[in-house]
Amino acid sequence: MTVAELVDGPLWTVALTVFVAGVAWRLLVLIATGWKRDLSHPRSGSLGGAIRGVVGRFLPSQGMAGRLRLHLVAGYLFHLGLFALLFFAAPHVDFYRDRLFGFDWTPLPHWAFILAAEAAFLGLLMLWLNRVLNPVTRLISESGDHAASVLTFLVMLTGCLALARSHETLRLLHFFVVELFMIYFPFSRLMHSFTFLLSRAAQGAHYGRRGVRV
């Protein structure tokens, strides 16, 4: 079996299985574990609190906005850029159709794809630089945080290097890094792509019950 066959075949199956099963398992465990029953009399509804928690956290709380300016701008640049790239870049839409879902949707025009890539790179670089240059975030960062950033960067970089879609080697390199990323995903900080909803909702519901406005 050639390297190309391995990357395109069994390794992809392994990566997809680990990713889907791993993410599902971790989410199930989190949900099944639940949390301690709050016996106090609720001051207001927890559903409203949960919704406020999920939506409200898209903006920093007052008083923190100034301090988090860099984080906020870079965070949005990166996450929106990456979201657009991941789901709406023409090569990805082709891939989802051919290898995963059997159907496709309208991709971004090329210029918007490139703009999204620029935003994602700028955001990720700024976020990681902030992480290592801010003494506080540097202190609380662990190797897992750096590994997640570096792996995400490598996925994006190899994708960008293969942009001409003219060399099989470059496509395979990108695909291989994506597979590593998918295998690492469920065991890492990257899980926050899913868990942020759970944690925001749980925290929001808790605050809601207690009548705390954040």
């Binding site: 790179f121 630089l129 970089l157 290097l161």
Partner: protein
């Protein structure tokens, strides 16, 4: 066969028929044998042909089969530009190495007292620019020298994906350089306004060759020279790069050739300059890197290299403020002070 291939084929077939038709006329004298290709190539190069050929292909000069000026430029690029660029980029590190061997690093005797030099925004902006610049330099140099270095070493088949990857990466990161450059410019320009003492600093070579250390403010003459070179050449680099990213918007081919010349020259100058900057920021001057990494520098470093800035900080009581805060809680001082500033 693509549209260009078809066009080429058709034009060549037409031209060769035309050339043959001319050659069919019998020679006037018995010894003159015309070169059957001469007229063809004359036509292809459009020498002495006032009317340009027509084509349906949309694009700059797409009705021209061979661009003579372009060929001249390519020869100049290969024969001269790449050679002199190689001399410069190989020569500068050698000079730096020799200097370091003879002179050694500028030593620092730490006082243990710190001054805040660069806040978080300064540092993120600097390292963003540095990262993007180094990536562009790496991919750009691969494209410039690849044919002469990578091809003989790894072969054409290996160079082909390397070149494609470098080109795509270079094109995509180019605009980020402009963004980072503007950010650095806005944050640092006020501290880089020229002063008379900077000229003196430069004339004395920054005190590297003996004598008293020349006086300097927040940035010294050498740093200001780097800053302004970066601003001017960086802008030229970005603007020419953007034109090369979107060649179909260029008004003429001459402008594209000019953009290539400007882009190459500005890039090589800045890369060569950056070697010196990186040396001074790391091995050359002890204690300098700390400022861009943690934000703080040792008070003795400031006194040694930026005496006027040091005096100003002492006058404003900044040295004491940071030292006291440090005594209380060493790790978080930079963060706390930065929060106050940003």
């Amino acid at each position: 066969m693509n549209a260009y291939g078809l066009l080429w084929g058709l034009l060549l077939a037409l031209l060769s028929t035309a050339a043959q038709a001319q050659n069919d006329t019998p020679p006037q004298s018995g010894i003159w044998i015309p070169n059957p290709g001469a007229d063809l190539w004359k036509a292809v190069r459009q020498r002495g042909q006032p009317e340009p050929s027509t084509t349906q292909v949309q694009g700059l000069d797409s009705n021209q089969l061979i661009n003579v000026a372009g060929e001249k430029f390519r020869d100049w690029r290969r024969e001269r530009f790449i050679r002199y660029a190689a001399y410069l980029l190989a020569g500068v590190p050698v000079v730096i190495l020799l200097f370091h061997m003879l002179h050694g690093a500028m030593k620092l005797e730490p006082s243990g007292r710190k001054l805040l030099r660069f806040d978080l925004y300064d540092r993120v902006a600097h390292w963003l620019l540095a990262t993007v610049f180094l990536f562009l330099a790496f991919t750009g140099l691969l494209l410039l020298f690849g044919r002469f270095v990578i091809v003989p070493w790894l072969g054409l088949d290996a160079f082909s994906p390397i070149a494609s990857a470098s080109k795509e990466g270079h094109n995509l990161f180019g605009p980020l350089f402009l963004v980072a450059l503007l950010w650095v410019f806005l944050r640092f320009v006020a501290r880089n306004l020229p002063a008379w003492r900077d000229i003196v600093w430069l004339l004395k070579g920054g005190g590297a060759f003996g004598g008293k250390h020349p006086s300097a403010g927040f940035f010294n003459g050498g740093e200001k020279l780097w800053f302004w070179s970066l601003a001017v050449f960086g802008l030229l680099l970005s603007l020419s790069g953007l034109l090369l990213d979107f060649p179909s918007y260029a008004p003429s081919r001459e402008l594209l050739v000019l953009a290539l010349v400007v882009h190459g020259a500005a890039a090589v100058i800045l890369v060569a300059f950056s070697f010196g900057h990186i040396y001074m920021g790391t091995a050359g001057v002890e204690g300098t890197l700390e400022g861009m990494r943690d934000g703080t520098v040792d008070a003795n470093w400031a006194r040694q290299h930026h005496d006027q800035w040091y005096a100003e900080m002492v006058r404003e009581g900044r040295l004491e403020a940071l030292s006291e805060a440090q005594e209380n809680r060493a790790e978080t001082t930079t963060g706390q002070l930065e929060e106050g500033r940003t």
